[in-house]
Amino acid sequence: MLKTDQDALVQATLAGDPQAFQTLIEPHAPGVYGLALQITRNPVEAEEVLQDAMLTAYSRLSTFRGASSFKTWLYRVATNAALMRLRKAKRAPESLPEDWEKPADPRPWTGDPEAWFAREEFRQILNQALDSLPEIYRTTFWLRDVEGLSNQEVAEIMGLTLPAVKSRILRARLHLRDQLAPYFEERLRDAS
């Protein structure tokens, strides 16, 4: 969606055209749902977050100043809605150990990565690895490496400084690497 189209839809919504709001949010709904799934890891809660986020976005649209993209603003609204839900459920924030230790003798990953993409098992392995990440790292990683947002956009959405975002993303990437390594190193052993 072009920024001019987006701006026009925002203005039309504020002028009282709810249909414009539907058009405005439609391309972002799958992304918001995906983000909510990453935070809650629960499809029912993710749907409730999606609805909460869209209703909040509608009622607070006048606070959108256009300094960031509408997508970034909407994702921030959704993140807040999801985190509020976690807090209500009194789910304590988890963390990763302070320091990441480089494996003493890491083995190269071999096999044909392309062939893995087609396998259902591969998707389960990725999901299990994501599950093992504490929420604060998982969400940051998802926004950056799956959604493809910039570090700056992730910082705006998460309400973090740029160095904090970079630190979280690196920790997440290294943790996921460590989780996936046995599968790919196993392939090496299988092949040998």
């Binding site: 709904a29 799934l37 869209m54 290294l174």
Partner: protein, 86 residues
């Protein structure tokens, strides 16, 4: 694991975030490349971390399940849209 007198493996962690994002200063990037050339464990970690990012970045985008889409539209219709003309 000190393969280069000027650069031990601890530099990797400090520089890795910017290196993976292609944001590392040119001089530091050159130094890290020199270290990676000689340090097999660090090279494996960098390569496998890149592969990890690639795996996730190529994941299929999340699709909105049709029933979730339908319920969202219903919610918006009842909560924000004006009633239809009779």
């Amino acid at each position: 694991m000190h393969h280069d007198p000027g650069h031990d493996c601890s530099h990797l962690k400090e520089a890795l975030a910017d290196y993976l994002d292609g944001d590392l200063d040119t001089e530091l990037c050159r130094e890290l490349h020199a270290h990676l050339k000689d340090c097999h464990p660090c090279r494996v970690v960098v390569d496998s971390t890149r592969q990890t990012i690639r795996f996730f970045s190529q994941e299929r985008p999340v699709q909105l399940p049709p029933e979730v889409q339908r319920r969202l539209q219903e919610t918006l219709k009842t909560r924000i849209l004006p009633p239809e003309e009779p």
